[in-house]
């Protein structure tokens, strides 16, 4: 049992208790029969303790709240081009973009050079430091 886990847990509790922004904004949208997590709205900072509060507090964000937010979605699998997680993220992206407009961004890595040689325009290559070497 790594010591870290106990430490992280207490860190989380203290972080939540002293949270500067107790309203964690998350929204769950339902499109047809699929659920897409975009965000959940948590009213209480002590949601770790009481799960029921969390489930009860899921609600849609208003347009104004969305405009005032920045959503960042991270997935290693986006560059894989195949596979389950890639398909899920790719096929939900139109809905996410529709709901969030300019306030969403995906974070991806450049690590396997082979994948990128063909897809990045050659004039862009000097901008990527690791290609310069």
């Amino acid at each position: 049992m790594p010591i870290i886990l106990r430490n992280t847990k207490t860190n989380i509790r203290s972080a939540i208790n002293s949270s500067i922004k107790p309203n964690l904004c998350h929204l769950l949208i339902r499109v047809k029969k699929y659920f897409y997590i975009i965000c959940l709205f948590v009213e209480s900072p002590s949601h770790m303790a009481e799960k029921s509060i969390l489930t009860a507090a899921v609600k849609k964000l208003s347009k104004k709240e969305i405009d005032n937010s920045l959503l960042i979605e991270v997935a290693w699998e986006i560059v894989n081009q195949v596979g389950g997680i890639y398909t899920v993220i790719r096929s939900k992206s139109p809905f996410t973009v529709n709901a969030w407009g300019i306030t969403i961004v995906y974070l991806v890595h450049i690590y396997q050079k082979k994948l990128l040689w063909n897809s990045i325009p050659s004039k862009m290559l000097p901008m990527i430091p690791s290609f310069r070497r």
Binding site: P2, I4, W76
Partner: protein
């Protein structure tokens, strides 16, 4: 990945943070991902933090007790991506954290190696972590035919040692425990999370795929006919040497995905086919099922 760069978007908060990261000598690209919806993406050029890798790993060990191997290509990448994301989010929260709600959503452990560090820094953001499957679950399910019956009795750290996946299991576990909201994709994975990761998922969000892309339009119907003919040809050459059946009364079934017998449920599929075969026989049906 098909990607179209954006180079002038000075009023875009995401871009401003990218520019500041570039000034620090890190390779970051900003642009649009060329799929439906054209979402904006940021590409982090991982080799640009390669020289700091030792330092990052030391911090990971010192602050969070996670030791990582020296020469694992995937884990090195995961840790470098984590560092890049940590730097990016630090810049973003410093600039915009007080005026805007910043929400981060991480999929799987490979994206989330920075989560413990982010929480330690107490950045002004909220984090959602979603597991689509657990690492230990993947290994155990492959090796244990009655995995779900044994699930409550596994000791996660012992099993992680046994399969030599301690670093990844620890990374996943630390991400799970340091996210604000933890979600998973099904009741079955929720059980895995409960016993192998030690945290009850806050919400279960089933994955779906958008089947608008696969709707059959006129063109597709024509293609469907053409391909069906080709599949018929294959079926005839493959089976008709030995015996024949009516091509008009035939159902083609397909599987997709990796051929992992237990993990991906091919054992269940075969069982289901055997039951189907039995029913077709007892009801004296004239249909034939060909399964790829």
């Amino acid at each position: 990945m098909e990607f179209d760069p954006i180079e002038d978007a000075s009023d875009d908060p995401f871009f401003q943070a990218v520019v500041q990261m570039r000034k620090a000598g890190l390779g970051v690209l900003y642009g649009r991902w060329l799929v439906t919806g054209r979402p904006k993406v940021i590409l982090f050029d991982l080799p640009t933090v390669n020289d700091k890798l030792g330092e990052i790993k030391h911090k990971l060990w010192e602050d969070h007790g996670i030791s990582t191997p020296d020469n694992d290509f995937l884990i090195n990448g995961v840790i470098m991506l984590g560092e890049m994301i940590r730097i990016y989010l630090t810049i973003l929260t410093e600039k915009f954290g007080s005026e805007r709600n910043i929400i981060t959503h991480f999929h799987e452990w490979m994206a989330a190696s920075c989560l413990p560090a982010i929480r330690k820094q107490n950045l002004k953001l909220t984090s959602v972590f979603t597991t689509h499957a657990t690492i230990l679950g993947r290994y155990l399910a492959m090796n244990d035919p009655v995995f779900y019956d044994h699930l409550p009795f596994f000791d996660w750290s012992k099993e992680a040692k046994h399969f030599n996946i301690e670093p990844t299991a620890n990374l996943e576990r630390s991400a799970v425990h340091s996210s604000h909201v933890f979600t998973t994709v099904s009741e079955v994975t929720a059980q895995e999370c409960r016993y192998l990761l030690g945290r009850e998922p806050d919400v279960i969000l089933p994955n779906g795929i958008n089947n608008e892309r696969f709707e059959a339009l006129h063109e597709f119907q024509n293609l469907h006919l053409q391909y069906k003919k080709e599949i018929h040809d294959f079926t005839m050459t493959h089976f008709f040497h030995s015996y024949s059946f009516d091509l008009e009364k035939i159902l083609y079934f397909f599987t997709s995905g990796r051929y992992e017998y237990l993990n991906k449920g091919f054992d269940l599929t075969l069982q289901a086919l055997a039951q189907l075969n039995h029913r077709l026989k007892t009801e004296k049906s004239d249909m034939t099922v060909v399964r790829f």
